[in-house]
Subunit: 332 residues, 2 copies
């Protein structure tokens, strides 16, 4: 099994290090946070004194390097990768993929890179918030663009599977557009809802119950971490915000003019029903041969249609696709 | 203990009937839903064949009548109250209070009325979704306006306390403004988020995780029930929507121009921290004599400042107030 070198040992990086060790891989890390380093060492994990030393060892061991820092720190780490382990197997766990890809092209062009983003987290951050089980059953996007090598993709996807996740192949742009809507936008809306609720004063805060608690939950995440991911996905998030302002303005207009929120509420109800129905039906299993010329293109199509890779066996990816919509019963 | 007559046996009304019986009160109900009536009877509760018969019995027993129908049905029930139990003790459990008060003034002006709204619920609806425990530890607004009688307020508040809730005194207008922000707005935002996420297609729906799940949870509520409460609170909800559009537009503008979401995220983080801190500190206990001329005004001030009534003993309301903000430690 390929060794793993994790740079950044916060919630996600720390969980990757734990899960990699649990899967039987030789693994070590490095972090700029003395607090995270001390906590990881106290838990028995190997933390090298510097990123450089961790990368030197990665080069010697032909390890897979995992960049697990916030987006603003990625460029500096990549320049270190280029100096100490220029042709390393390389992935990341950053929540925005296009900027990381651009940064890799600029700063570590010889690295054998495929980006990654596990869809898992908690409201808390830092080493102590993580666990080896964080990724169990979670989805983990592993990105594919025109320059991705099949071997590099496979290394990143295998780590995700070893951590207990299911792999969703996607292009960096598609990934970023999707997470703008289902991860970054929810953080912005939660913050706005929390503020508008708080503006209602002590009575409103006192009466707030389940709908407010759930709607604002993620606004308790460290604002600096949320800034790093949302601001790093500016173009896609602006697109999602414009759609939101459009729909919310239409709701406001309809309520003011006709008194009705029917269209807004019914659309939301149906969209949520689609989300809830994701896991209801048995998925269709299939396989993709990984030696074919079009393997990566086929994998990306599977991700786009809502499918995922559940295992990599030999030269085959075992995939699950959402079932085709049910046929209507024939009329009598 | 005063008998209780519940009109409407869905989630909330059905839970009130169960909790009233559990508290030892003689209680019965009526509902236009044959399904709810059958389920309540099967569970051993007394459901009269019609609202008229339930109200006739309420008049004979000097019972407290609880209106637990959706807002659009309240007017018709009040006209029946005026015919069959015109001077009844009367409260309601409707999520918007000013329209109910206006309707009472118009259709059942002799009723001894104080409005009520328990801050409890689930995503599901109907008798089967309810339970006697639904209100345990929940807040229950009992409204006070210029025409509220202390005796009527006390009847409604005692029922809420008997159901296991804590009572928040508030004017109908203050109540409606508060719930627009912390209950109705969350439903509209959840619906909009669900739609914008769904617009992202199968990849977005597939990648959606905790932040999307929590942010859209209440969009799975029956849209007709959400319409009844949100559309019934039009003016206050428009005000909350305008604040939301303002804050969201400012976030969009800041992200587009400077690339920063700092102000939006930090405001939301602080507002959520205020919400989370609600229960952290030991509240200050106090009491309000209920025979004083200004008892209702004092109770309303307590609700406005985030306090609640925890019991009514003899002629005294025992209240809890949020602790005063901590003094800063003196500088050395």
């Amino acid at each position: 099994m390929r060794a793993v070198c994790v740079i950044g040992l916060g919630l996600i990086g720390g969980s990757v290090l734990r899960a990699a060790v649990r899967s039987g891989r030789r693994s070590w890390g490095a972090t700029a946070s003395e607090e995270d380093a001390a906590a990881a060492r106290a838990a028995g994990y190997e933390v090298l004194p510097s990123t450089e030393e961790a990368l030197d060892r990665a080069a010697a061991a032909d390890a897979l390097v995992v960049i697990a820092t916030p987006l603003p720190a990625v460029g500096a780490v990549l320049r270190q990768v280029n100096r100490h382990a220029p042709t390393a197997w390389l992935t990341d766990v950053v929540s925005v993929q296009e900027p990381v890809l651009e940064s890799v092209r600029e700063s570590a062009p010889a690295a054998r890179y495929a980006g990654g983003h596990p869809m898992a987290g908690t409201d808390r951050s830092g080493w102590d918030a993580g666990s080896a089980e964080l990724f169990e059953g979670a989805l983990w996007a592993v990105t594919i663009d025109g320059s991705t090598g099949l071997d590099a993709w496979r290394e990143a996807a295998t780590l995700a599977l070893d951590c207990g996740a299911l792999v969703v192949p996607a292009s960096p742009a598609e990934h970023d557009a999707a997470v703008a809507r289902i991860s970054h936008l929810p953080h912005v809306l939660a913050a706005v809802l929390a503020s508008v609720g708080g503006d209602g004063g002590p009575l409103a805060v006192s009466l707030a119950a389940g709908s407010f608690r759930d709607g604002t939950r993620v606004s308790s995440t460290d604002p600096d971490l949320v800034r790093a991911m949302t601001e790093g996905n500016r173009a896609a998030l602006l697109d999602a915000l414009d759609d939101t302002l459009g729909r919310l303005g239409a709701a406001r207009g309809s309520l003011a003019s006709t008194g009705s929120l029917n269209s807004t509420l019914r659309s939301g109800y149906l969209a949520r029903a689609g989300f809830e129905a994701r896991g209801e039906h048995e998925p269709v299993r299939g396989s993709v041969p990984l030696d074919a010329g079009h393997a990566l293109r086929r994998l990306r199509e599977i991700g786009e249609s809502g499918g995922r890779v559940v295992s990599l066996r030999g030269d085959t990816a075992v995939v699950e696709l959402p079932p085709a919509p049910e046929e209507s019963a024939p009329e009598e």
